[in-house]
Structure formats: structure tokens, C-alpha cells
Symmetry: D2
Subunit: 298 residues, 4 copies
């Protein structure tokens, strides 16, 4: 364990599409001082030139962690995360953890990876908050992300005002790091199920000789109007499934949700039926297509 | 059959909440001349005083129909519709039908009633278009209703520009008057199914110890965001089911949809599963509660 | 209405494959005197020559009914039944109904036809018992049929000893003639569902690389051993569906059962799922194949 | 590894209810010479006194294995199996394995335990055949067990004639030891599904006012007649669920089957629906009741 820092600088590791916008919101709305690191140093340099009095650039993740009590990280893949956190990397995050370290990881990783990172951090005396976000670049820019947090409650409470300038809502789901991924699974289960209901509607309308564009229009005019149906409807009618979210991943989340329901004794008959339709579509060769290809399973 | 009219006046029968706004759009945006009738004559009088050069008030439905080739009717209930159309009523709509009569009925009635009206109209030499709308007062005011039309194609084509000032979309579903009600059944099937998926998500989150408000917030932040979930979510969490759309009606539409699918050979496994959940909730005593009480069937 | 009979002769109309064996059991085990009629008179003559002291041959159905208080009829088709019962036929059953007439019809007809016959009989002052049987020629010969009775309770009680020599079990399902057909629907629902479960097992075993003959053998060795699986299993494995009971009829019964469940508020999620598999198989072109082709719907 | 044996004696370890009858069939129908071991030595002694010229009693499992090339074992529980096989036990089976050892284990253990035993045996140079049986005491006595074999094919071929006197059928499911447990899972999936179909039939009949005993009788009279329905039906009608096979175990097998189907891409919509009914019944407090309590989940 290195010595604790006494500075007020906040660390920020990972200035990708999302991270950059999140950091800017901390700079402009919280007037924060940031010590940043990014693999592609041109991004760090650019941010420092935009906010010369607020941003310093570190040479390594370990430098960020050693010098700050609070560090946000937003690394987009497990690979990037592993490279940056890796215990065997003397320049990595873990090498710098000290007893006042509070790590807030905002990436969407697997629960296993999240748990490993939390464990490694706490083993070294630090505290860890998993804070994956719902939303993409636009939401990050506008500061309207949704934070689903799990892990250290003191850290969650400490960073509340920061999260409130980066997002429009934040939720603390409990100490178990797995809670965030459970939430994601529940959300994706609902999404998979409702898209399958929509697929049944499109199929029934077609068989009944009702024009698809009329159905889409009527659905969009009422209480069911949502980006999902608006985005997927026309292409489902045409049988085009350009992949945004692959069917195999959607079905995997459905399976995880069913296993969770099974473990908890919660009946999920509609989701179970939707899962079977997804499996049928997968079996027909659509597993790498978009999950809207679930319609092929009917 | 009475003689055909040669005037350019358009008839409008029924100036209730919806009809009044629809008529106003015809007056302001199409500069139409209307011959109107309403049971409550104060409404007709008021409209005539607002548009003195465009609106004349008739003394009876038969007067409207006799004097106009094109007549819109917007009567909110089967009872009102029967009273006004009734063949035995010498002052009713049917008494005035002539060979150039084009009746466009915009009310949401049963398919049986719609078919009776269409049959009675064509028997007397007229033409009939069923044109029920999706939307309520606000959409009528703003001219953004959705028209689901079935019946006479020539009438549908003739009234296109009228419909376009009263609504934002119009769909011709075929000559069979039943097409409009089939569309409604399909739409309600999707709605019932997706609300059941949502209910499963709420139930699973609860069992998993995840906070309901977090789930609602996350769902509302993404592609699934829709008025239905926003409107029903918080009350479902509280177990309150103030009736907007009774479960028994929702389940009835689900049953009709499944029967239609059965007849057409369209598999609907998810809707079939949702129907069973609805039945379970009904059996537990929620049949007169709002259809969001489907969550009680899990 | 003709005058009532005082003879002890029992009438028997219809000496086909089933009727002949049933009549023989009444003759040998109940020592009954029968007045018989059959369209093909050679069969009546043969029976009379076998049992000269017990069997008399009538020239028409009306003669049978006029001369006997109790009359069994076993006509295999709706057409035969209509021809023999027909009100406009002066030689038919209805022409002979009197106030002591007790008609026991053992054929499997539609509930509508059964109800018509019951109504026509009671209108003329007689009593009617629907008593369709489960079982075929072998069960008729051995006197081990199952009677599912509905209609007149007094008649049911009066004929108990007769039914007991023709069958091994008899059930009174209530006064409503429809009860017998409801029973059939329930039974066929269970049959359709369990065959679909079996189909899923065969399909899963195949995908898992487990030999089908092993699965059939293991299933047949335990609590699930039944003529249905034994009869259908090997041909399902080979994808052969020689029609004994067409898929479309099995699915129709499933639909009727689901409608009954819907009306009564009874959830039937597994049968509903099985119905969808049947529909899928129908859609793939198996509707006239045996109902074991349900496996094609997976 | 000890030296290989050259005797013709066959080893038999475990003379419990099943093992004793199986051994007797080898003695009487194959005229085999057996070297036996049983924890309760009175049973070994009794068998030796019944078949003095054919049976020798060993003092330990290791003695049996060391002296025989072929050894059957039939130990009823994992605990007994572990105690007898245990590597650290100098008197156990593993201590005696030699390069000609062929171990045929006929117990129904978990796939994990089976795999451990197979691995330990082959590591020491022997061969292993898992050969769990379907059937109980009566089937063992009459030599009509069903063998589901997996593992060494040469051993399977070598013991064919032995298995044929102990059983009426034998199946080789492949080299993977897991095949036998997969088969069991498939079989139990079908059983759980068909019992749920049966439960739906009983429930629907009840709601329709049809007498349950009539339904049971009719089902038992036809193609669906099976020990399962005969055994469970009357108690299900009475709501009594004395535990033969606990619901939680049945549902666990159902879950395993669904996971297997998911992995293999096999749709199982009916089993998935049945699983949800089972979960519902579990949630209502029937998890330790017999699996016929699935009816409570409707």
C-alpha cells in the first residue's frame, strides 16, 4: 500500500467517447481539478489545453491513483480494463491503491470482472464502487446518464454530487457488486420479451392481411410508443436485421434472467416463452443477427 | 332512397368532445362548409356562431344526410349510434341515405355494429367507410389523430385531404369492415403482452432485492421508454390498480387475438403465455381492476 | 305420441362393429330379449339365428321404438344417426317416441347433434341419455368399454346393470348433454399435451446425441409406459406420421379446451404452449398428418 | 498398480436390495463364479451358503478388485460409494485397480461422482463403465432391469451377456460418462411435463363440473394409461402429495433439461411452461411435497 494522498484532485482514467464527456461535465459543472490518464495521450493533452487551470496529465494509471483519493475509471472493454488494472503491471491502477483510495468504475463489464476488481481493490485497503451507466455519447454529453451503483455505500454517498452532474439519475443497488449486473439482466429480459410481443403482433397482422405500416403507426401513436419499436419495426417488416444487439446476447441475458428467477422461485412464464422463440430463431441461423430477428422464431 | 344532393356542404353528425375538435379542423384548415347536427343543440349553435359563414345547423340527422353527399359521424356510444342511425327513426341517418351518400363513421364501435351500419347504408344505395380513430381530445384538437379505415375504397380516397387535416396518419385496411377491429385486437395483444413482460421484470427485480424505482428509471432511460410503463409502473409497484382499462377487457382482446391466430395458423406463444397470466390474475379477483393487475397473476 | 309399450323387450338399433358386440353381451350376460333393427338386414338376421329365443327383428326403427320402453342406439356417423332419427321419416326413431320411451344413444356424435336428439326426444315426452363410449371393437367384445353418460339421471340409474355387462366402468357426468363432449375435450387436451412433452424429449435426446431407441426403452420401462408412447414413439423417431388422429383435429380439441378454460378462468399454461407447437406443425403442412407430427413444430 | 488377475471369478461389491438379486441372476443364469463383498457380512455369508460352489466371500473391496478382472459394484448412495472406492482407503476399490481391471458401476450417482470414479479408475490403468439401471427390486429379481451405459465401449461389449440376464434391455449411450445422466434428465423432463398436462386436465375437469373419478377412469382406459397417472391421480384429486419424488428435485431436473436445451439450441416451449408451473407450486410451499403437487401451481 502506498501512502494516502492529501490533494483535492480527482483522478480520471479513460477519456474515450464516454469518459471525455463525463470528465468535461465534472470540469464545467463541478469546477473540479482532474489528474487524467488515457492510453491515447493526444486526448489527455487536448483536454488539458482546453482546461489549463483544472487538468493535469499523468504519465501512468499508478500516478493517478497514488496522487488522488477519488478516481473514476471508464474503460470500455474488459481487455482495456485488465491492462490498466493488472496487478502485475507496476504502472497499473492496483499498484497505486492506498488506504484512502476510492475507485469508481463506470464501465459495463461482466459481474465476474467487476467482482475481481472490487476484491483486488479492497484487499489493498481501498474502496470500490461499481457504477455502470445506461446511456451513450449523447446522454454523456448532456449529463443525463443513469448510474446503477453497487459496492461501497460510503463512496456512493461521497460521489453523489459528481454523479448528479454527469447523470440525471443514480441508484444504489446494494453492497453486492453483482446487483448492477442483475439489474441489467432484468432490464434486458423485459426488452427481449416486449420485442417478442411486438414480433407476434407484426406476424399476426401480416397473416390477417393488415398493412404493417398501419400497425407501426397505430402502435407509435399510443401508450406503447417507444424508441425500440420505432427503431426496429420497419426493418423487422422488411426482414432486415442489421446487428445492433446480437440475438445470441439477448437470448443469453434471457437465460440468465430465467436462471435468476429459478433460483429465487419467481415465475416468469412469458419470458420463458419468449426465450423459446429466441432459441428457435437462433436455431434457424440468426444468432449473429440483431435480436429483432426473434420474429423469425415464430 | 331520396334524391341526391348537389350542394358542396359536408355533413357532420355528433359534436361531442372529439367531434367538435374534428369539425373545427375541417372549418379552419379546409375552409369547409358544414351542415351539423348534435343532440345537445347548444353545441351546434355555438359552433355556428363561431363560424357564421361556414356552419349551418340542421334540425335532424335525416336533414344532414339528405342534403349532403359526404357525411361524417362521430357518436361516442353504440346507444347514441343506434338512436341516430335507426332505420325505424324517420329523422335518423338511414332515412336520408341516397345514391350519392358517403357515410364516414369515426366512432369506435363493435365490428358487428359497424357491419350492420355498413350493410344498412349500402342496402339503401350509399357507401360506407369505417374510420375509427386512435387518440383522444388533445390529438383531435391538434389534428394528429390516427385513422384506421375499412370499407369503401373510393370514399377513403375521396376524403383523404379531410382526414389529413384531422389526423397525422391514415390507413386503409381493406374492404372488410372487420379489418379495423382486427387491427385493434392486434394492437391490444401487443399491449397486453408487453405489460406482462414488464410485470415479470418488476417481480423479478423485487425478488432479487433490486429497488423498483431504479428499475423504472433505467427502463425509462432507454429504448423501452413509453407512456404505458411510465403510467403504470409506479402504481404496479404499489399494488394499486385504479381501472383505466379493465383486466377482463384486456384478457378478452387477448383471447380474440389468440383465436384469430389460431384461425390463421399463426403461432403466438408469448401472447398465449401472457393470456394465462391474465387469467390467473382474473381468477384471483382482479377482473374489474386495471389490466396492470396482471402482475398479480405471476 | 304413440301409446306406451308394456313389453320387456329391449330395443337395439345399429348392429355395426360395436353395436353387434354390445348386443351380444346383453344377450349372453343379461339374458335379455332384444327387438333389433339394422340397415343391413343380414346382420339382424344372423343375430336372430344365433339367439332364436331372444332376438326378434323389426322392419323399421319406428317399430323398435314403439314396442320397447328402453332402446339402445349405436349408429356410427352423424349421417346414419340423422337418417334413422329424422323427424320427417315416418319409419324413424322419433316417429315412435312415447311417454315411456328411454333412448340411450351410445355413439360419439357432436354435442350439437346430441343436444338436438335429446331435445327432440323430450319434446315428444321421452327421456334421453347420451352414453358415448371409450374403447373399440376389442373392448366391446370383452365388455370392458367405458361409458360417459349425460342427460336423464333416472335412465342412467335404470340401465346401470346393462351398462355393467357391456363396459367395465360408467360415469354420470350430469344432466347437461354437453358434459360428455367436455369430458372428451379434457381428455384430448391431456393427450395432446403429453404427446408434445414426449416430442420435446425425443428432440432433446436427439440433439444431445442420445440414441432414440434407448430413450423409448427407458420411458417404456417406468411409470410413463403407455400405449400412446409405445405406439407413436418409433414412427416419430422416423418422421413418419401415418394418420390415426389428424393433427388438425387434435389441435381443434386443444383450442376447444383452451376456450373452455378461458370461459371458466382456469389457467392452462402448458396446454396453451402445446397448442402453439401444434399450430406451428400445422403451418408447416402437417395438418392432415397424424397428431404425432406435433414434433415438427419444435 | 497391482498385478493383473488371471482367474475367471467375477467380482461383485454391494449386496443390497438390488445387488443381491442381480448377483443371483448371474449365478443362476450365467453359472458365474463370484467373489463378493458387502459391508454387512451376513448377506455375503448367506449368499455363499446358498451357492457354495460358486460364491467366495472376500474380506475387503481391494481383495475383490485385486483378484478379478471384471467387477460389478452396486452401492446405493454416494456415501457408500465414496467409502468403498476412496483412494485413501487401503482396503478400498481403487487400491486394487490393475491394468486388466474392468469396473462396471450400476448405481445411480451424480454425473460428477461418476466422472470422478471413471477418472480415478482409468488413471490407475483400468477401464470404467457407468451402467445405472432403471427399475427397482421386482425388476432386479425378474432380470428385467434397463441398463443405461456410458464409458468404455470394450467393457460394454464384454459384459453384454451378463447384462442380458440381469436386464431386459441395455443401451450404450456413448463414451462420455455424462450421457447416462443426460438421459435421466430427458426422461424426467418428459415425466414432469406430462404430469403437469395431467394436472391441467384434472383442474379443468373440476372447474367444468366433471367428476374427477370419471376423468381418471377414462384416461386409464385408453392410450394414456400409465402407472404414473394411476399412481398419482387419486391423491392429486384429494390434494395429498405424500412425497415419493420431491417437487424441488423434479423442478431441478426440469431446469437442467432446459439448460441442456438452451445449450443445444433445442426449443422446449412446453417443458418451459411446465417448469414455471412447478416454480409457482414451489413458491406456494410445496417444494418438499411430491412432484404431483405441481397441480397447486395452476
Amino acid at each position: 500500500m502506498t501512502e494516502s494522498s492529501t490533494s483535492n484532485e480527482i483522478g480520471f482514467i479513460g477519456l474515450g467517447i464516454m469518459g471525455l464527456e463525463m470528465a468535461k461535465n465534472l470540469l464545467t459543472k463541478r469546477n473540479a481539478s482532474l489528474l487524467v490518464w488515457n492510453r491515447d495521450t493526444s486526448k489527455s493533452a487536448q483536454l488539458a489545453s482546453e482546461f489549463p487551470s483544472q487538468v493535469r496529465v499523468a504519465n501512468s494509471p499508478v500516478e493517478v491513483v497514488s496522487n488522488c483519493n477519488l478516481v473514476y475509471s471508464m474503460l470500455s472493454t474488459i481487455e482495456a480494463s485488465q491492462a490498466v488494472f493488472d496487478e502485475t503491471n507496476p504502472e497499473g491502477v492496483l499498484a497505486g491503491i492506498h488506504e484512502n483510495s476510492c475507485i469508481v468504475d463506470c464501465a459495463t463489464l461482466t459481474p465476474e470482472r467487476m467482482s475481481e476488481m472490487a476484491m483486488a481493490t479492497t484487499t489493498k485497503g481501498g474502496q470500490f464502487l461499481a457504477a455502470p451507466v445506461s446511456g451513450s455519447k449523447q446522454q454523456a454529453e448532456q449529463g443525463i446518464l443513469i448510474f446503477m451503483c453497487a459496492g461501497s455505500l460510503p463512496v456512493y454517498e461521497m460521489v453523489g454530487e459528481d454523479l448528479d452532474v454527469m447523470g440525471k439519475a443514480r441508484h444504489y443497488l446494494g453492497e453486492s457488486i453483482g446487483a448492477a449486473s442483475k439489474m441489467k439482466i432484468v432490464v434486458n429480459m423485459v426488452m427481449g420479451g416486449m420485442l417478442t410481443c411486438f414480433a407476434e403482433g407484426l406476424s399476426l397482422a401480416k397473416e390477417a392481411g393488415l398493412p404493417s405500416d398501419a400497425l407501426l403507426s397505430v402502435i407509435d401513436a399510443g401508450g406503447m410508443s417507444c424508441p425500440l419499436f420505432k427503431g426496429k419495426g420497419p426493418s423487422m417488416v422488411q426482414g432486415k436485421y442489421d446487428t445492433a444487439f446480437p440475438l445470441k446476447h439477448s437470448q443469453k441475458d434471457m437465460r440468465f434472467a430465467l436462471e435468476l428467477g429459478d433460483k429465487l422461485g419467481q415465475t416468469l412464464p412469458v419470458s420463458a416463452a419468449a426465450n423459446e422463440v429466441m432459441k428457435k430463431a437462433r436455431k434457424k441461423g440468426h444468432e449473429d443477427d440483431d435480436f429483432s430477428s426473434v420474429i423469425e422464431g415464430l
